[in-house]
Symmetry: C2
Subunit: 372 residues, 2 copies
């Protein structure tokens, strides 16, 4: 199949450090290429990919040192470039929320839009009612709750390639608890600290501090760090994650917001590390309670869950990761969605027979994977 | 003429406090109504206008207390609503930078887009090259310098209604210098303080502190405020401006950026208060050097200019304001642009004869005003 992938331009594909959406798009591109598809990635020039790359900006916006930039202008140029080449693709897969909606009104059935963010924003319902033809994919079922009327055509969980030898750790060598993410109220760093202190266990915190969160971090978290159990190690990149997460007895994920997916949960699972999470947003879907971790309602339950998590089978945690959250599992999920779209939309005349066969072939694989 | 006006949704029309674009759109709407045109304003529900109001959001975005909003979604809904009603208007006048470009590609000739911001942003040239058919209006000739190739069809200076009795002050009763704007490096508050201290004159500073400028204000400006000559009075609204500006011997406008227009200069002129400005961006076009103020290159020249400004004829300053920067002058400038557009674009069949006559009529007025 000829597939265009359209991530936002904020981070490189994959991102150098923190950045969820562009990382997932990178994972998806590589897995689709591995499955034999022709993938074209529209992205900034700092992308690293085996897909065909169409460069639409010299570098990603966030780390671009240019003093004055326009997100809006950059993304309008991106989508305009995609539209100019739209007839080259069977499916155009957007990860850009909604900015493409005015551009593809006559071709919405050949597009797929994955919504990567939280959806409880005041202005969203009006937009998704105005453009009801765009097929939407959620990254968890819970994410749909705020826009139940929207044109949902599937849920595809995020996936990642995580080489067993690099990522999996049969034993938690460090004997500590891990926190990985942003230092923001919704991620619950204060709760993580409280849980670790109750348990008397060391907690290592690898986290980014956004400009918007500086006051919160300074006023609410820094005073809690003054404890020998708690170690703040700043922002880490992908290369450091296997050691950091694999060394932990459990990942603490005590969120306080409607988390749309939560990549760090599956990064921990790739290491065999169980997740102790709070029951918000996607967490109850991503964590197999009692197998890959536990869903808790409060600090007392979390303290108990950390004890129980240390008795879970880390090999089984990894097996569940492989089945549900590998990059290939994600790619197959999307191929199902693409095939449904093409079955419902009129096939483009240039779609050759071997492409149609490949669709059937990969659909078969997807079904097999689901049964296995 | 049937004219739609499309401001951004960030501030109310007119804004409650600071806010340039929405204030100018408000001035333009009222002046066009006064000149007998049918004006439709697409805006948030907190707008106050004599035009027909189409409410597209309950309130303006910036002061909306809702915790989670989407600027992008709000503006896409706005433009979608305009498009749904586009055939009702002879001219659709956008003040929304570029977000409407994907929506009106078949009708660009019936649109006018005023660019209100600075244009030296990295991503802009690509967008204005991709959509070359949209007729653009600059708010100063200097503003065009960064995009010389764009489809400029006119420069129309901002204008405001400023009742003579309310605004004009024949004498500077307060005997101080005034600074009005934002506490940001490009507005030169540090320069204003240095000039006032050199002169030994009191300086009153009425200014907003944006979140983005808090560190600059705290570290660079607050230490300079500890002087009996300098008084910081915070953000002020329109109602307080005549007294604040009219009481001043001169407005200091020591900018350090390509100011696209600079509304505060004409607010001062409406009071009869001369402007001592630096020669960046629009300032040399807006200030009539030696009549309504002075253009300076450095602090020495500014100190001299403040002395000279106190000898200028404040009545002549106001006369220049009336001729060049009244709301009516601005509306006539835009009516010229609209008429040119309609002369070049095919007339819509539903455009009745009396509308065509009104266009000719107001064109006559505009030409007369230019000669007078």
């Amino acid at each position: 199949m000829k597939i265009a992938q359209i991530p936002p331009l904020y981070e490189a594909v994959p991102p150098r450090l923190y950045g969820g959406t562009e990382r997932v798009v990178s994972n998806l591109c590589e897995a689709l290429v591995d499955l034999g598809h022709e993938v074209t990635l529209f992205a900034s020039g700092d992308a690293r990919t085996r897909a065909e790359l169409v460069v639409v900006r010299d570098q990603a916006i966030r780390l671009d040192p240019a003093p004055l930039k326009s997100d809006m202008a950059a993304h309008l140029s991106l989508i305009s470039e995609v539209r100019a080449r739209k007839d080259e693709f069977d499916i155009i897969h957007f990860h850009t929320d909604m900015i493409h909606f005015p551009f593809f009104e006559g071709n919405a059935q050949r597009t797929v839009t994955t919504l990567h963010g939280r959806l409880d924003l005041k202005d969203l319902p009006s937009v998704y009612r105005r453009w009801p033809k765009y097929p939407l994919v959620s990254i968890s079922d819970a994410q749909r709750g705020f826009l139940p009327f929207a044109n949902w055509v599937g849920t595809v969980y995020h996936g990642m390639a995580a080489d067993l030898g690099t990522w999996f750790s049969p034993r938690p060598r460090g004997g500590y608890l891990a926190f990985l993410g942003r230092m923001s109220p919704e991620k619950g760093p204060d709760r993580a600290i409280a849980i670790a202190k109750r348990l008397g266990m060391p907690l290592k915190m690898a986290a980014k501090v956004d400009t918007a969160d500086e006051a919160y971090f300074r006023e609410r978290i820094v005073p809690l760090l003054d404890d020998p159990l708690i170690e703040f190690i700043g922002e880490i990149g992908d290369a450091q994650k296997p050691e950091f997460l694999g060394g932990a007895s459990a990942l603490l994920f005590p969120i306080d917001w409607p988390e749309p997916f939560g990549l760090v949960m599956i990064e921990a699972m790739a290491c065999g590390t169980p997740v102790v999470g709070y029951g918000c947003g996607s967490a109850p879907e991503v964590i197999d309670h009692g197998v890959t971790g536990f869903i808790c309602a409060n600090e007392d339950e979390a303290v108990e869950a950390v004890h129980a998590a240390q008795r879970l089978d880390r090999r089984e945690v990894r097996r569940r990761f492989d089945r549900r959250f590998s990059a290939t599992a994600m790619a197959r999920g999307y191929l199902d969605v693409y095939a449904d779209r093409l079955a419902k939309a009129p096939f483009a005349p240039e779609l050759a027979q071997d492409d149609a066969e490949m669709i059937e072939h990969t659909r078969g694989q997807a079904s097999f994977a689901q049964i296995a």
